[in-house]
């Protein structure tokens, strides 16, 4: 039935200049050369790095305040809220000699398994101390599975310092 609607068209034979192919080659070269002279839109990654916009959700990190105090008090809310269960905290008591004994609690161990992390940022959202922050780092690689688990030392290296505007614990110490 469908064959009744088929209309057979005979292909026109190529003209002589079409058989040369040169006009088509030249047209292609024109496009290529035109783009070569334009400013490139891609980056030469990894030699060039993109500018990370503010609020980018990169690798979760732990941060210290302006006094070099670790902000985390190991309340384990991030561990609780983490959808893929990437975070594992072992709470500990702060050494009375450290000058931060009034805070009482800090993580003895803090591990984020980057093989599990889905960069959802819920840990940052739930943190009552603004201690865990998803920052600009996005390039993540390792030679082993164990190497993809960021421990506390690595998390503070990645995190650096974010000043605490409220300075709640300083006030508490003075009181």
């Amino acid at each position: 039935m469908a064959t009744q609607n088929i209309k057979v068209i005979t292909r026109k034979p190529l003209r002589w200049w079409e058989k040369l192919y040169l006009p088509q080659v030249l047209a292609g070269m024109k496009i290529t050369l035109g783009i070569m002279l334009r400013k490139p839109v891609t980056l030469k990654y990894p030699f060039e790095r993109p500018v990370i916009p503010k609020g980018y959700r990169g690798v979760p990190t732990l941060v210290k305040d302006q006094n070099g105090r670790e902000k985390c008090v190991s309340c384990q809310l991030c561990e609780f809220v983490c959808p893929p269960k990437a975070i594992r905290i072992t709470p500990g008591e702060i050494d009375p000699e450290s000058g931060n004994a009034h805070i009482e609690k800090a993580p003895a161990k803090f591990e984020i398994n980057m093989l599990r992390c889905i960069y959802c940022g819920m840990c940052q959202e739930v943190c009552p101390e603004a201690a865990i922050v998803l920052q600009g780092e996005y390039s993540l690689n390792g030679y082993s599975r164990a190497g993809m688990i960021n421990d506390k030392k690595r998390l503070y290296e990645l995190g650096g310092t974010i000043p605490d505007p409220v300075r709640k614990w300083d006030k508490k110490k003075r009181a």
Binding site: V73, S74, C75, Q76, L77, E79, F80, P91, G92, E93, H102, I103, E104, K105, P128, E129, A175
Partner: protein, 560 residues
């Protein structure tokens, strides 16, 4: 109590009638019909204080004419008028009476709660992120349920000691404390030692020990349990794990034959704490500090792992064959223990019958502390009688075994979790015989043993214990068994089955119970799956003439 219809009264809560037991207060009565009246200072097992005012409710009684005593009838509805009190009253201090009317959601009740919560939070540090109570804190729960949600307090909060040690086990935080005095009442009325008291005045008041004393003794951690906020914290559990991660398992304390009901809190195969579970017939809501520390045996340095034959590590199969070869040598003896569950004792009995040999029952006695630790320091010696493992205690004394070893009548001893050297056997006697050791911890006997069968602690297995009053109580496994161990029941039933050249079938508690019911007359009517959480009393009359060492504990006295 609910079945006792003679003592029921009808009360009306928020316009709905409820039948509740008489002679109780309104908080308990509402609880019994599933309605929560928020409270801090009231604790069902402690005397009433009425100091927190959180349970303020609007109450009223049916009106009667003062002169005639006739009921006053409301013209509009045709029903008796309710005389509502002009001010709210505390529910914990109000006994239920017929016709009592309560409003739990009226404007007055709601604003009372909001006011109390606001006052409590005025000086509360709100340090929930570092507070161990977070997740099981009534102040946290009631503030979100009944509080205003915002603070109008603008002044600096009071500063108080944040970590004051009250005793070897308990740490006190003055800022979190809401002065409900539950801990004070626990010490004064339950322990009978009024160590704690309230010092200072007004919003500066805090809990402290009387000068020269400290909160010591073996029951101090109960103040941590009764504390509705995070003011009293356990030094052992402090900063270990948040409670919302922990799984609760019902267990029985193995410290003594009292059989304290416990809750074991674990996460991913690791136990973090043990707390008492309410059982009015056994331990009310208390337990000893020493019993709470027993979870440490799971990961103790002395814990046995890996089956051993002589000096070499072997598989379970090889160890079982080696043990059987020794037992079948002839002249075997079995040392059973009150630490074994009823099911294990029953399977040991069938093993002893298959191999042949006398069964001795270890005796570990200590001092009665008058509360929840009895003389018999094992949870289940009565089980050996009920299962028929031993006929009586005197004939099963381990000293009789010593005499037999001296007379060369015993070649192999199968020891279940006991240390023979502490039971009175000398080193020479231990060296004279081959020992098969089934247990969880290393001791002098396991060091001498030819075959070691590492087994499970009470936290890694399920079963039943029979306590000092012949109360059959069930415990469930809190965590899986650790690597290199097998459950006692698996080991014993494998040995028993191979001894009679069959395949082990009694590896689960339920399958053992099928046989237990047939073999033990007092257990005949008991369905293992339906043993209530508070246990079930067995008929103790067959053993009435046995002299038991126990002289009574908190809720039980031996019949004279």
């Amino acid at each position: 109590m609910a079945e006792d219809t003679t003592n029921l009264v009808t009360i009306n809560i928020d316009g709905k009638d409820y039948q509740v037991a008489a002679k109780q207060n309104l908080v308990d009565a509402a609880q019994s019909v599933g309605i929560e009246i928020p409270h801090y200072c009231y604790h069902p097992k402690l005397p009433m204080a009425g100091s927190c005012r959180m349970c303020l409710v609007e109450i009223g009684m049916p009106m009667r004419d003062r002169a005639t005593g006739e009921p006053v009838i409301d013209e509009a509805t045709g029903k008796q008028k309710i005389g509502w009190m002009p001010k709210p009253a505390i529910a914990c201090g109000t006994s239920v009476s017929p016709g009592l009317h309560v409003k739990l959601n009226s404007k007055m009740t709601v604003s009372s709660r909001e006011g109390v919560t606001e006052f409590l939070l005025a000086n509360h540090p709100l340090d929930c992120p570092i507070c161990d109570q977070a997740g099981e804190c009534t102040l946290q729960e009631f503030s979100s349920q009944y509080g205003k949600g915002v603070s109008r307090y603008r002044d600096a909060k009071n500063v108080k000691p944040k970590h004051k040690s009250l005793g070897p086990q308990v740490m006190y935080d003055g800022e979190r404390c809401i002065r409900c005095t539950r801990c004070v009442r626990f010490c004064r009325d339950i322990l009978g030692r009024a160590v704690l008291g309230v010092t200072q005045r007004g919003s500066h008041s805090e809990i402290d020990c009387y000068p020269g004393t400290q909160l010591d003794g073996n029951y101090t951690l109960n103040v941590v349990d009764v504390c509705p906020v995070g003011a009293m914290t356990s030094k052992d559990f402090r900063f270990k794990m948040r409670v919302w991660f922990l799984k609760k398992s019902k267990s029985i304390c193995t410290e003594s034959s009292v059989g304290v009901n416990t809750t074991v809190w674990s996460r991913e195969g690791k136990i973090y704490r043990i707390t008492p579970r309410e059982n009015d017939a056994v331990n009310v809501a208390w337990m000893s500090d020493s019993g709470r520390m027993l979870y440490k045996t799971v990961e103790a340095e002395t814990r046995l792992t890996g089956f051993r034959r002589g000096e070499s590590e072997v598989t379970f199969d090889e160890a079982a064959d080696a043990a059987l070869a020794l037992l079948k040598n002839g002249a075997s003896a079995f040392v059973a223990s009150g630490k074994m569950s009823v099911e294990e004792q029953f399977v040991l009995k069938s093993l002893a019958a298959a191999v042949g040999g006398n069964v001795y029952l270890a005796k570990t006695l200590g001092e009665n502390d008058g509360m929840l630790i009895s003389e018999d320091r094992t949870p289940n010696r009565r089980g050996a009688l009920v299962t028929g493992l031993v006929k009586d205690f005197d004939g099963a004394e381990v000293s009789a075994l010593a005499a037999k070893i001296d007379a060369d009548e015993v070649k192999t001893v199968f020891v279940c979790g006991e240390d023979l050297s502490s039971l009175g056997l000398t080193e020479e006697q231990l060296k004279k015989v081959e020992i098969v050791y089934l247990g969880t911890q290393k001791n002098a006997t396991s060091e001498e043993a030819s075959v070691v069968l590492p087994s499970s602690t009470v936290f890694e297995k399920a079963g039943t214990f029979i306590n000092q009053e012949f109360r059959l109580q069930k415990f469930e496994a809190a965590i899986p068994g650790i690597k290199g161990t097998e459950s006692d029941l698996t080991i014993l039933s494998t040995l028993a089955a191979r001894a009679s050249s069959s395949v082990a079938t009694d590896v689960s508690v339920a399958s053992v119970w099928e046989k237990l019911r047939a073999a033990c007359p007092v257990l005949a009517n008991i369905d293992y799956a339906k043993i209530p959480d508070t246990g079930t009393l067995l008929d103790a009359s067959p053993w009435a003439n046995i002299a038991f060492p126990e002289t009574g504990s908190l809720k039980w006295k031996p019949a004279k």
